[in-house]
């Protein structure tokens, strides 16, 4: 079933990458997708389910000022998140589990996990990887989980 949490969940690593306190953002975001304040600023996220797409819009405010680069907009095909490819926390969890087990050496735009997923995890500091993108497409190689990633995975596992 598609709900706001599934629509908004891709924003979470992005928020952390922009400096949100991880535990505060996690607790608030899981309870009420919407506008909330965390140490360091105010983070807003809203999900919209229209006829054909599920979209999420997020904006970061620091001291009441909207950050020009603090905007995220994503749209996905409407349908079951897992069946229709909408990233959920489970996708991040699966990716981190696979990386921790050393099952993922490289990713590209069509692999599972995808380049986009790893890029978001890398931006949040949960993994480190070498960007091997070239003319024929984007890719990462030598992907390794970080201490922060292991702690996040532990947190996801205990909250599941």
């Amino acid at each position: 079933m598609l709900d706001l949490w599934h629509v908004c969940s891709p924003v979470f690593p992005w928020l952390v990458a922009h400096g949100a306190n991880q535990s505060s953002a996690n607790a608030l975001f899981q309870s009420t997708p919407g506008w909330f304040s965390v140490p360091g600023g105010t983070f807003g996220a809203s999900g919209v389910v229209s006829g054909v797409d599920a979209c999420v819009n997020a904006q970061i405010y620091i001291d009441g000022q909207a950050l020009s680069d603090g905007v995220l907009k994503k749209c996905y095909p409407l349908g079951s998140p897992t069946e229709k490819g909408i990233p959920t926390m489970q996708i991040y969890k699966d990716a981190l589990n696979a990386i921790a087990a050393n099952d993922v050496q490289a990713v590209n735009e069509i692999s599972t996990p995808s380049y986009t997923t790893i890029k978001e995890l890398k931006g949040a500091g949960y993994v480190t990887a070498l960007d091997s993108s070239a003319d024929d497409g984007n890719s990462f190689m030598k992907i390794e989980i970080t201490l922060k990633g292991r702690q996040y995975l532990e947190q996801l596992s205990t909250s599941a």
Partner: protein, 71 residues
Amino acid sequence: MPAKPEAAVLVADLLTLLWENQLATAAALDELTLWARSQGATVVYDNVIGALETLDRNASAIADGITALRR
């Protein structure tokens, strides 16, 4: 005189090896600190976690540097 492209590749290769060493060391330390915490050595755990956070931070910067050298 501009550096030879081969030199940049060599530096990137060497940095990659050092980066992998750093990640392996961090992973091993992490395992040991989890064991130390389970034995009640929370001060040791906190101290090592601080060092691991530094390794994490620098690993990301080194990875970005390696990527830049390879382009």
